[in-house]
Subunit: 352 residues, 2 copies
């Protein structure tokens, strides 16, 4: 039975049709895709392609300023319908193009947290010359307790093993120095907990602390941090790489001689760009729910959207959710069953 992925198409900068074009690419590799968005834009693109279904859902909340409120108030929004299809068992994973907040809110509300998980997290595979480096959390939790960060490590590792196909991911903790004593008291505590829980793990290697430079060196496959530091890190990477690339592009057009030089270098630069292509790893992964979600960036092209769908399917097929649960259970890192009152209060908080 093929895996089915429910896809919200309405948050793409290039329009729903571009996501549909990505779905066609994924469908050709055997994934069954359910596309949610304005049918009149989707149907012409997928016309005659096997394995792609279109559900007319023209209402978009991708740009809503308060995604949680928008999800609650718009049960017929495309993202809500796509995520509910997963909750209802009509699809195995969801992909939401360019709307992280709405995906997180809809996921928490309808798919819900997986058993034993404190908080869902966003894991983003950053393109690096030696292969993707997954940073987790990149912004779902501005504050995170040591127990949460320990779970993020296992969640990121399971995602890297399944969706990214990294057989034995190397997991590290982001700090301001490599020594176990470096960092805030929370970071020092997480280091000790992870060192203990990942020692001798059958499928994961524990690297220890890494520094900011290692988001790109390839010293680790998965780097754990809180959502505040992760978000800042991500935005710094965006800013600096854009500035450097922009500066070099500016230089390449500053004189006729430089322009000729730039032209001659173009094929070689293209290969480098491909190496650090942000679309390859498919976008950000929403981990810790009862099903897997992937959020490709709104400015992606069809290539990135197809990657997101394929990798979501791969994660679902390889049962990433079960893997996270069994790994956390073996490590004694599952959240203990809370009292009914505490559980209700925390469910409230999560959907805020």
């Amino acid at each position: 039975m093929p895996v089915t992925v429910a896809v919200d198409t309405t948050g793409a900068d290039l329009g729903p049709g571009e996501v549909a074009a990505g779905a066609v690419l994924a469908a050709r590799q055997g994934v069954h895709v359910r596309l949610y968005g304005p049918a009149e834009l989707l149907r012409p693109v997928v016309d005659g392609v096997a394995n792609v279904e279109v559900i007319d859902a023209p209402l978009s909340i991708a740009k809503a300023p308060d995604p949680a409120l928008a999800v609650r108030s718009n049960p017929d929004a495309s993202v809500v319908q796509a995520v509910r299809a997963v909750a209802a068992g009509e699809a195995d994973a969801f992909v939401v193009a360019g709307a992280t907040g709405a995906a997180l809110a809809a996921g928490l509300m309808h798919v819900r947290r997986a058993k034993g998980i404190h908080r869902p997290a966003l894991a983003l595979p950053l393109p690096a010359p030696s292969g993707p480096v997954t940073l987790v959390d990149v912004g779902a939790n501005v504050e995170a307790r040591p127990d949460h960060l320990v779970q993020f490590a296992f969640m990121g590792a399971a995602m890297a093993r399944t969706s990214l196909g990294i057989e034995r991911p190397r997991v590290a903790l982001l700090s301001n120095g490599e020594e176990p004593t470096k960092g805030t008291p929370d970071v020092v505590e997480v280091h000790a907990l992870l060192a203990e829980r990942l020692a001798g793990h059958a499928h994961v290697d524990w690297v220890g602390n890494v520094e900011g430079v290692d988001v790109i060196t390839g010293a680790a496959d998965v780097i754990v941090t809180d959502g505040f530091t992760g978000n800042v890190t991500l935005k710094v990477i965006e800013g600096v790489s854009q500035a450097v690339v922009g500066g070099i592009r500016g230089a390449a057009t500053s004189s006729p001689m430089a322009m000729l030089g730039g032209l001659l270098m173009k094929p070689a630069l293209g290969r480098f760009r491909k190496q650090i292509d942000p679309e390859g790893p498919g976008g950000a992964y929403l981990l810790g729910l009862r099903s897997l979600g992937v959020v490709p960036h709104g400015r992606f092209t069809r290539h990135g959207f197809s990657q997101a769908i394929l990798r979501a399917a791969q994660g679902a097929e390889q049962q990433v959710i079960d893997l996270i649960h069994s790994d956390l259970e073996a490590a004694g890192a599952l959240r203990r069953a809370p009292s009914a009152v505490a559980s209700a209060a925390s469910a409230d908080r999560s959907t805020e």
Copy 2:
């Protein structure tokens, strides 16, 4: 009367002679320099140059694994002698090449914290196309309370006005979003405190929150953060810019055609490199002591060392320490006189 700067030369990758060569450049612009290091390496470089004095201090602790211990145990180390010259009034500011930990430890022990300052901080002007963006703190305080961060803002602004010559610095707070409600509870509190204390300030503009991308966009001249986030940010910038520049350099040598292209682009790229030259702003500034300290990176060339000396002199001449004090006093942000016991305990902590 010319300003005198005491310079520890022993932590430079290119050797003490390179720092001496930088001192010669600074001395020619009227700064009086006292050089600490192995005299037999320094004297040949400064021979016959006016305004440069050599003090034979061959013992280096620049690479000591525990800088605070090394400072305590080696009163004759070059960095200790240079910093003590400032404490003794023989120099107005100190420059320590390539040894941040030793500079901080020696500064705290001998120059000591300025009155009303909670914690010293390291402010680093990052090279950006539109001019330096000063990040403070980049690692002196892994943990920082909201009161500390408020002081960092004033300290960074005063440094930007004096050493960097920015008439009216725009000050911002690093967060995961621009809205005042974004960030950890501490960040939200600092935002509120700074909004109040910088509103209508005579010499500083309050920008509000900025995101990681703004370390390079030029949206602010001074960006405030804790030492953990600041250190991670700094290392991410280093890693990403090295990777991008390295990737492009690799592309430029990957084929004869690309090599020719690289050659043609070289002059234009040189201009861009100069724009983002890390040596121009002189290095990291140690703020919050009774005198100003500057820590140029160990891998700088003579150009960077001369910049560090010139900007340290400029800060001292324009009385950056007094400026910080009067600004904090006017804003009601000075640390209140603690009880004798609290003061002793906190002094202990600071020199750990």
